[in-house]
């Protein structure tokens, strides 16, 4: 007990240098935990982007390219799927639902997606969560738009606002469809997926803004789902759900061998996994960096402890003179480094939560990573345990020196 008291009082007496060491450890713990949390949550946000969809079908291209363009709105496909093929395939036995999507237009840099009402009914993200409305409802007319939560927040749009859609992607589009303004009728709840950054319009509207000739004035007021679909020639891709997983493989094979048109069907869960594996190197580099930070901070602690130890030879000799054994001085120094380490980890955890709390909103809006501010996971606790253990082992170096100092210095306090 006396050793704990001495360690505590001695640390308090050297609070400036101890505080610096403690902060170094705290910052490294914070960085390690933050990188780990962002990594796990990015992975989870990534795989949560789409769920419950058995197949995504598009023009024949690469698996990942189709996934990126249809789900993440990254890049675009060179070709589309003809409406006839879509209708033929979706009429096959076992098809429970299908969602046609048409991409390629934008509004102030945000993707515009043409689809049907089935999108709001069947699209699932995260753990099979359906889309929900924050305000308003789904479009019921050709010139209505449902916007994602990020679009509403970023562009400060409200229900009833009128917007103009540009042709092509990006912020600077030269061709605005000024003659076809859209009225915001619904704002979706945040999903942490690209849906938040998307404007959803009826499939027929895509045709309309590109000057499709099959639309007449009456369609504006025709609320039937047929009017919302219009007469598209081509769509970018479509999502499918089946009655049974058995159909998935069978229909996937049929689509990939479909003779009328070169099509590609992918299973999103499989392709998502493949894509994440490609990104694994970044994940590893991030982890490596954070471990390097931890090692540097532990070496910093070692340097401070060793530098202090030389100044503390007199203190150790005094303790020897009042009866402390060399092993007790060894324990004293070990307890000090353990305490510093423990407090460093504790402060590090606090800083980690403070950082996550303040940046969660930013990460959600800028990177689409939904940060889960929850208790430390088993893995994160293990990481802290490893840091504590490493700190303790490093603390044994000055402790061993203290042991030998105390033997050689003995009670010669005139050091």
């Amino acid at each position: 007990m006396i050793l704990f008291k001495l360690a505590y009082k001695s640390l308090l007496n050297r609070r400036a240098s101890v505080l610096l060491t403690l902060l170094t450890i705290a910052i490294s713990v914070m960085l390690l935990l933050s990188i780990e949390r962002v990594r796990v949550d990015a992975k989870s946000s990534f795989s949560n982007t789409i769920s419950g969809t058995d197949l995504i079908v598009g023009a024949r291209t690469g698996d990942i390219q189709l996934l990126l363009s249809s789900v993440f709105r990254i890049g675009h496909t060179n070709n589309g799927v003809s409406w006839q093929s879509y209708q033929y395939i979706t009429k096959q036995r076992g098809v429970k639902w299908s969602i046609p999507i048409s991409l390629g237009d934008s509004h102030k840099g945000q993707a515009v997606l043409g689809t049907t009402l089935d999108y709001f009914k069947h699209y699932r993200f995260a753990k099979k969560q359906p889309l929900a409305f924050e305000q308003g409802q789904a479009f019921s007319s050709i010139n209505e738009v449902v916007i994602g939560s990020e679009v509403a927040k970023k562009l400060a749009y409200q229900i009833g606002d009128e917007i103009v859609i540009s042709h092509g992607m990006g912020n600077t589009s030269f061709h605005h469809h000024d003659d076809n303004p859209f009225k915001v009728v619904g704002i979706l709840k945040p999903t942490g997926t690209p849906v938040d950054k998307t404007l959803h319009v009826p499939l027929a509207a895509i045709e309309l803004i590109h000057g499709g000739g099959h639309h007449d004035h009456d369609d504006h007021h025709d609320h039937s789902s047929h009017a919302l679909i219009g007469h598209p020639k081509q769509i970018t891709a479509f999502l499918m759900g089946f009655d049974s997983p058995l159909y998935t493989l069978q229909i996937r094979r049929n689509i990939n061998q479909y003779k009328q048109e070169p099509l590609l069907a992918i299973m999103p869960t499989v392709t998502l996994k493949e894509l994440w594996e490609m990104l694994a190197i970044i994940e590893k580099i991030l982890l490596l960096f954070s471990f390097v930070v931890v090692i540097i901070s532990l070496l910093g602690m070692l340097t401070t402890l060793l530098a202090n130890l030389n100044q503390r030879r007199r203190e150790l000799a005094i303790l020897r003179s009042v009866g402390a054994r060399p092993w007790q001085l060894f324990s004293l120094i070990s307890i000090e480094s353990l305490l510093t380490n423990f407090l460093g980890c504790l402060v590090g955890c606090t800083l980690f939560y403070a950082l996550m709390g303040t940046t969660a909103g930013y990460l959600q809006s800028q990177a689409g990573v939904s940060i889960n501010i929850s208790m430390l996971s088993d893995y994160e606790l293990t990481l802290i345990g490893v840091i504590m253990a490493a700190g303790f082992i490093i603390g044994l170096i000055p402790a061993t020196r203290a042991y030998f100092y105390s033997l050689s210095d003995g009670m010669s306090i005139k050091i």
């Binding site: 006396i2 001495l6 009082k9 001695s10 308090l12 007496n13 007199r314 203190e315 000799a317 005094i318 303790l319 003179s321 009042v322 009866g323 402390a324 054994r325 060399p326 007790q328 033997l407 003995g410 009670m411 010669s412 306090i413 005139k414």
Partner: protein
């Protein structure tokens, strides 16, 4: 209490001549001995041998009838903690402890001394306060930072630390060198009082020969070695 016979000590085994050679020295229980000699006469070496920091190269050195050379390092550490109180020239108080805590530290590493205190009073702190009062440090200084105390006050704390737990042997290594003549004498009288109270043997080392008359016995280290 202390018995040295044909003791010699060399810092290095291959050294030509020993640093310290004492043919015979006996100090009885309860004696207050003044040990003096010029710098380099081997005072600190003798104290290190008495405290069991170093062991004799040859001969026999017994403290409390225990031959210190026959003990292991750990046993000598335990022996020192249990039986010897040490007062240093430079006080050597821990700056981050209060006077009371510094005094208690004197028996924190010895169960025997702790038990001795607890047989007489309720707590170590009570005994530490009693000793500080007895040595002339007023209660309002007891919980102050030791660094704010005067030299004389710090020396009293150092003495109380040596006395706590009533060790059989008190070694004082030039404890009055920083005090003026008046304070020196009154401090030595307080030391005597305390040593008498617990029947401790006091070995007081100094090169200041003006202190000689205060002690019942004086040992000149130069003469002691010259006898050899």
């Amino acid at each position: 209490m202390i018995n040295l016979e044909n003791v010699s000590f060399k810092w290095h085994k291959k050294a030509a001549s020993p640093t310290l050679t004492i043919e015979q020295l006996a100090i009885d229980e309860g004696e207050h001995v003044f040990l003096h000699g010029p710098s380099g006469s081997g005072k600190s070496t003798l104290l290190a041998l008495l405290a069991g920091i170093n062991v004799t190269t040859s001969g026999q050195l017994c403290v409390l009838n225990q031959n210190l050379s026959a003990l292991t390092n750990a046993q000598r550490d335990a022996f020192r903690a249990d039986h010897i109180g040490y007062i240093f020239q430079n006080f050597n108080l821990l700056p981050y402890l209060t006077p009371l805590e510094n005094v208690c530290l004197g028996c924190q590493f010895s169960k025997k001394r702790q038990q001795h205190v607890l047989n007489q009073t309720d707590s170590l702190t009570k005994e530490a306060a009693r000793l500080l009062n007895a040595l002339g440090l007023e209660p309002h200084f007891h919980n102050q930072n030791v660094a704010t105390l005067s030299i004389g006050q710090q020396q009293r704390v150092a003495a109380a630390r040596a006395f706590i737990g009533s060790p059989e042997l008190i070694i004082a290594d030039e404890p009055t060198s920083a005090l003026d003549t008046q304070n020196r004498e009154s401090f030595i009288k307080l030391l005597f009082e305390q040593a008498k109270k617990i029947n401790s043997t006091l070995v007081f080392v100094s090169h200041d020969e003006t202190l000689k008359p205060l002690f019942s016995r004086t040992i000149d280290l130069v003469n002691l070695q010259g006898d050899v």
